[in-house]
């Protein structure tokens, strides 16, 4: 490899490099110049730096139109992966903005740089076309997420949640690695395209089936699909709220993107079929079962939650179920629809967690009753909450509704006029009607119940307000004019 190749590598990985440099800058600035300043000042300066770095990386990725495959699948660059990276960077920016008013830690520089480190992992994950690269970048992102979960050292739930997340995550990594090693053994390659080529026509032999199931299990943990979801409620509840937002938004986007890629490219030829009257063994029926379980269990369990963060965790499980529909339909249209859904979901869920963070700060908890009378105590904040939760519930004209329509119509259309996958869509729509109930419970607290008599107005920090209003505007914009986002995902 000569120096020209290195230069090219640097050019192709420029967005990641920019974020890495930013991360080091943030860390060193916080340890040197900002030492001794107040936490709020450190948070704001660090956030400014990080946002600038992420924004320039995003602009770079957005404006270049490159198509390249570096070192046989180590780094795949094309407009599509670039756009997904832009989305991840945008979600990271919003996550950082809503964490600026946080009081859960003194280690501001470390916190911000871990978020950036996680982002770098996710960006590499999106570009990966090789099993090893997938594993390494997934672990990079996950390790950052474990630490971010544990970051509130004053709260023992935070450590408990992180330990649980870490143990489950470690297990899932082992499953994933085992699956990958079987794949390597069967095909003699770690490149996804090569694997598909060498497995083509061999059918579904038992060892491949094991590899498939292991891979699905590994990713099932990452995206918190039933029955691999047990870590999620505790992690969401215990983690500092911005960390939970990061787990729920940015990491979902990358995980779903790569999961769809592995299954569609790496396991090409072993799809099977999940249609109602003609199920054929393969990966689609496996994913179909997981999707159905996630939708049902996630939504039904969310109903009985009294903590809003746990409620959002179960709703995340349910949403993972909807997103899996886009994976198992296995058409280009369905994958585009899924990416639209995941990205808009990310935008929405960061907003929802942002509101929860403010309420938690002001009232000391995230129980349903802490939201009572929010519409009087903080009108703008509760209007944003209304937008986010209704979008999650799938009320038009918000992004969540259009996302569902894209996703469900693409799923049904995947089987042509036979409507073979309609059973899954019917289940999804029925469950989405259930979900409306628990979102409405939260909104009922905010808009119908009265706050305690002496409850003061809630002061919302300026940066947070700005971020939340922007997020709510995006949710409405993507709902009313979805083509603005959808055209980049085709």
């Amino acid at each position: 490899m000569n120096s020209g190749d290195y230069l090219q590598m640097l050019r192709l990985a420029a967005p990641e490099t920019i974020v890495t440099v930013t991360m080091l800058l943030v860390l060193s600035a916080d340890l040197t110049v900002l030492r001794g300043k107040s936490i709020a000042a450190r948070f704001h300066c660090g956030a400014l730096l990080s946002v600038l770095g992420c924004a320039s990386a995003a602009i770079f990725a957005f404006t270049r139109h490159e198509q390249a495959d570096l070192l046989n699948g180590i780094l795949l660059v094309d407009p599509r992966t670039d756009f997904v990276k832009v989305a991840i960077l945008a979600l990271t920016i919003f996550t950082i903005l809503i964490s600026t008013s946080g009081k859960f830690t003194d280690h501001v520089g470390e916190y911000l740089s871990l978020i950036l480190l996680g982002t770098i992992g996710l960006m590499f994950l999106v570009s990966a076309g090789d099993l090893l690269m997938i594993f390494v970048s997934l672990e990079l992102a996950s390790l950052a997420l474990y630490i971010l979960t544990a970051f509130n050292k004053r709260n023992e739930h935070s450590s408990e949640a992180a330990l649980k997340y870490f143990l489950f995550g470690g297990m899932s990594a082992a499953f994933l690695l085992f699956g990958f090693s079987l794949l390597y053994g069967l095909s003699g390659s770690t490149n996804m395209t090569d694997i598909a080529r060498s497995l083509a026509g061999k059918g579904l032999d038992p060892l491949l089936m094991v590899a498939l199931v292991m891979t699905v299990i590994g990713f099932g943990f990452k995206v918190a699909a039933v029955p691999f979801h047990l870590w999620a409620p505790d992690a969401y509840e215990g983690a500092p709220t911005p960390s939970a937002a990061f787990i729920g938004a940015g990491s979902k986007v990358a995980s779903f993107f790569i999961l769809a890629k592995i299954l569609a490219v790496g396991f090409a030829g072993t799809e099977g079929s999940a249609v109602a009257h003609g199920c054929i063994a393969g990966w689609t029926p496996v994913v179909a079962v997981i999707a159905a379980l996630s939708m049902v269990l996630g939504n039904l369990t969310a109903i009985v939650q009294s903590s809003v963060k746990r409620l959002l965790a179960y709703s995340a499980i349910a949403h993972a179920g909807y997103m899996l529909l886009g994976v198992l339909s296995n058409t280009d249209a369905s994958r585009s629809a899924m990416m639209f859904y995941v990205i808009t979901y990310g935008v929405t869920v960061i907003g929802a967690f942002g509101v929860v963070a403010v309420v938690e700060e002001a009232t000391g908890g995230d129980a349903l009753k802490n939201f009572a009378g929010l519409s009087r105590r903080a009108p703008l904040l509760s209007l944003c909450l209304l937008v986010f939760l209704l979008s999650l519930g799938g009320i038009p004209p918000l992004a969540g509704f259009i996302g569902k329509f894209f996703l469900f119509s693409a799923t049904v259309a995947a089987d042509g006029n036979n409507l073979g996958l309609l059973w899954l869509v019917i289940l999804a729509i029925a469950m989405s009607a259930v979900s409306f109930y628990y979102y409405l419970l939260v909104l009922k607290q905010a808009y119908v119940e009265d706050a305690a008599k002496d409850a003061p107005a809630i002061r919302v920090p300026v940066v947070t307000t700005l971020a939340l209003v922007l997020l709510a505007a995006l949710v409405i914009l993507f709902g009313c004019a979805p083509s603005l986002l959808a055209r980049f995902l085709v």
């Binding site: 209704l390 009320i395 004209p397 329509f405 259309a413 409405l440």
Partner: protein
């Protein structure tokens, strides 16, 4: 021009949100102005459109690309049926605000939700793109919920949640049908489309497909139209709602359901409609009789009106089930007529009586001698009552009469049963009138323990009188000159849109 009915309502919402928090007077005036302007646009726009050409054909108002990937367009249009309902919405919106002039608690938010609901309703009646229609349809659910849960009475949170969940389940049934229809239509057309005209004129959904998708979509919309046995949200919702809420629920929101049944379910899946014609009619007739029967034995004044709505909406559904021109004419006219009359009835019960006496129990009302204390309310309810019974001269007569003629041609036996429903209707209305206003039982003063005379009831206020006169006038005008609206409705059923539904499966 008609599109501005939608925009002006949402602009009103924005204006209200910007008002200072405690200025209730300003909020009322802004809301009333918005509603009046909306209604004026509805009237002028409708008349203009009617003069321009054939109201039977959908006249395009706006049509631009919206989501090309789905074939969805921002397509607002109106034919005669839309015009009738848009005018109804305009009237009901003004009346509702006049009858909630006394809302003091968080006035600004109340009217913001109110106008958002109105905007959504206008949107449904003007949408000719199925997805757009669905968007507006679901948009109305949220304001309804908050209006009831926050400003309602009797078991308001239960009633509100029940209404919201029923609506949401109904609209999700519709959503399943829409997505399936979208896929099948795309297969036939070769490109995606959600245009109502294209879907109903150019696409032929296979009979086996219509067989299951029609009941799904019809029931989905029918839930909101108060179709038995999915009507149970209606009485509890109406009772729990604040006066303006129940006026709108009965006045226009139930029409959304019936309109969806006609515009989407029946027009897109005509063969399914023919196949399920008898089931539709049977459910409608059961609704008519059941609603009337239950209304007859209620102790709560508002429940009587709530169940009467179920019964009257049964006539709309029966009219739809006839699948002949005269029955459908009657159904659409009945939507208008019931919107006006039910609004008036709820106004009397909720605003004139309940807000003053704080009870709706007949046993209490009997003792109060309201006919003397509130003569205006007594007279208004008498007029509204006879209009609701279907006395000639009021709009209800023309509408129900046409429905019955249409139904007689198809299912005579069931028509007789529906006629029985009308008789029971007379009974429960007279019973309510007698118990609430003109009771013979000794008044409380004579009983010896009276607390009402100490606090004389407020006289009927100006806004209430204006609202009541307006609604009575509307019902009378249409009763005496039904051609005003029939000229808009009739041509619609001769248009290509309804050709397949009415011509029994030909081309």
């Amino acid at each position: 021009m008609l599109a501005w009915t939608i925009y002006i309502s949402f602009l009103g919402v924005l204006a209200l949100m910007l008002l200072p928090r405690d200025n209730a007077r300003a909020a009322r005036i802004v809301a009333l102005l918005t509603a009046i302007v909306g209604c004026a646009i509805a009237f002028v726009g409708s008349i203009q459109l009617a003069q321009q050409g054939n109201v039977g054909e959908a006249a395009t108002i706006v049509k631009t690309a919206w989501i090309p990937a789905l074939g969805a367009t921002y397509y607002l249009a109106a034919d005669g049926i839309s015009l009738v309902l848009v005018v109804l919405t305009g009237l009901a919106a003004i009346a509702g605000i006049l009858f909630s002039w006394n809302v003091e608690k968080r006035t600004k938010e109340f009217f913001a939700f109110y106008l958002a609901l109105i905007g959504g309703v206008y949107g449904v009646f003007l949408s000719f793109d199925v997805l757009l229609l669905f968007v507006f349809y679901e948009l109305t659910i949220i304001p309804k919920y908050f209006l009831i849960a926050r400003w309602g009475s009797t078991r308001k949170e239960y009633g509100a949640m029940k209404l919201a969940l029923y609506s949401f389940v109904g609209s999700h049934l519709v959503l399943i049908g829409l997505i399936a229809a979208w896929v099948v239509a795309r297969g036939q057309l070769g490109h995606p489309s959600l245009d109502l005209v294209v879907l109903s004129e150019q696409v032929r959904f296979p009979a086996s497909f219509q067989h299951w998708v029609f009941p799904l979509v019809f029931i989905g919309f029918g839930i909101l139209a108060g179709m038995w046995p999915f009507h149970t949200w209606a009485p509890t919702g109406h009772v729990a709602a604040p006066t303006a809420g129940s006026m709108l629920l009965a006045g226009v929101v139930m029409k959304l359901g019936a309109y969806g049944c006609l515009r989407v379910a029946m027009v897109m899946f005509p063969e399914g409609a023919r196949e399920w014609q008898w089931a539709m009619a049977a459910l409608a007739v059961i609704g008519i009789i059941y609603g009337a029967g239950v209304a007859l034995v209620q102790r709560d004044f508002k429940f009587v009106i709530g169940y009467s709505s179920v019964s009257h909406m049964g006539f709309v559904l029966l009219g739809l089930a006839t699948l002949n021109t005269i029955g459908l004419d009657g159904a659409v006219l009945q939507m208008f007529s019931h919107g006006i009359i039910a609004g008036l009835l709820f106004a009397v019960v909720g605003r004139m009586v309940y807000d003053r006496t704080h009870t709706r129990d007949f046993n209490d009302l009997e003792k109060m001698n309201l006919g003397k204390l509130l003569p205006f309310a007594g007279v208004t309810f008498t007029i509204a009552g006879v209009a609701s019974m279907g006395l000639p001269g009021f709009s209800g007569f023309v509408a129900e009469f046409q429905v019955l003629i249409g139904a007689w041609q198809v299912f005579p036996k069931m028509t007789i049963l529906a006629g029985v429903g009308i008789v029971v209707g007379v009974a429960y209305t007279l019973r309510a009138l007698q118990k609430a206003f003109y009771s013979d039982t000794p008044t409380a003063a004579q009983d010896g323990h009276d607390h009402h005379d100490d606090h004389p009831l407020d006289p009927i206020s100006g806004p209430e009188r204006v609202g009541a006169v307006m609604l009575i006038a509307a019902s009378l005008v249409i009763g005496l000159f039904p051609t005003l609206l029939m000229d808009w409705i009739e041509p619609c059923f001769k248009s290509a849109l309804f050709a397949r539904l009415l011509n029994g499966g030909g081309q």
